[in-house]
Amino acid sequence: MRALPVGDGALLVEVASGDEAQALHAELVRRRAAGLLTVREIVPAARTVLLDGVHDPGRLASELAASEIPSTPPRHEDVLDVPIRYDGPDLADVAAHWGVAEQEVARIHAGTEFRVAFCGFAPGFGYLTGLPARYDVPRRATPRTRVPAGSVGLAGPYTGVYPRSSPGGWQLIGTTDAVLWDHARVPAALLSPGTRVRFVRVGRS
């Protein structure tokens, strides 16, 4: 673990793996809820957790270095089911990358339990991990200018769902009717860091 100061009021904590980042994030959220940590933002990402709005980043860095951080994230009890139709335009390309038949993509993807590693790109857009590394896929060489809301895509090790229509370069494998973001709902985001997710097939695909 390495804690890098960011400006005068933030700390970027870097760890060795995505799992460790998720574990660190969960632990920091726990400490904040217990009143042990005062911070404005706790922002997990691929290999880091950013702590922003920290009074004394230097002291916090020493405290973190001296304390016990679990190396695996805790498992939430609840698993969120996200309905999906495997009808994306990039199914054939993904099947080719994976070296499997097209219908196998749906079987493998729906048979995997995911976890929201972090959010970014747009409100409610989660980066979900869970697929084994052999199923990593590159982004599309040419991003689409418009990806419809509810599109489920793959990029690198991640699965993501577009909360709203936007340009995007992920390989699209399916569609969901789930509402990923609704600012009038509490909570507004369906997916937040740590959420366990299963994709459940609906209708024909």
Partner: protein
Amino acid sequence: MTDRALAVVRAGVLTTVQDRGRPGHAHLGVPRSGALDGPAAALVNRLVGNRPEAAVLETTLNGCTLRPRSTVTVAVAGAPCPVTVDGRPAAWGAPVRVPAGSLLDIGAAVHGVRSYVGLSGGVAVEPVLGSRSTDLLSGLGPPPLTDDAVLPLGPPGELHARVDVAPQPAPPAELVLRVSLGPRDDWFTPEALRAFTARTFRVSSASNRIGLRTEGPALERALTGELASEGMVLGAVQVPPDGRPVVFLADHPTTGGYPVIAVVRTADLPAVAQAVPGTPIRFVAVRRR
């Protein structure tokens, strides 16, 4: 009962509703947003007797024209500009009573970029995640003003203006931005690090509420790999593959995959909001406090 609302006669190139933003939701991919020149927004609220969290209007370069449907107290600050009520000159940087139905014109900025229009009662559009700010990156909050739009105003508060006029910093002829190096300064060559603090950059016309883009020397990386996406702070100086530093402002993305060479002190960011394209920029490395 008067109609507490404001008709937009001329929206200007980009006028948005802004308050102190919606910090605390970065982990969901929600930018902080909020007024770029926070002290100017706070000042106009004080001048009209609003609470500091009231929403104001932020104009860009050419102002806007408004017709309040009820009598309001208005104050304009930030970028200096002519202010008129029904064609008659009115004060800038001081409270002005605008009678119901009269035409309030906020003219083009004489210096600087963004003028702030405080209105007694504040702009009362529906808040999203606790803020009425327009976020141009994520699309949260009200859309930018359009001609003929009507904005609701809140009830005038109990507070009384404690100031008549207030001194304000002039828009900068040169931006001197104090930075703390890192967290990814080790991604750059020694020459790039020297150029970053020794050379002069200029404000690019592609700058916006998301970031201050620069023209000037391209900063070369020592590491060529891809940086995994990581959390970003306000004032982060991110260097994209073209090597031209971008200073992240209020609507910045919450995570990013380009290395951050340094972070600008928060106190130096309001001046960034007022720097016109072409303004020289110097980054000065300072020791962390």
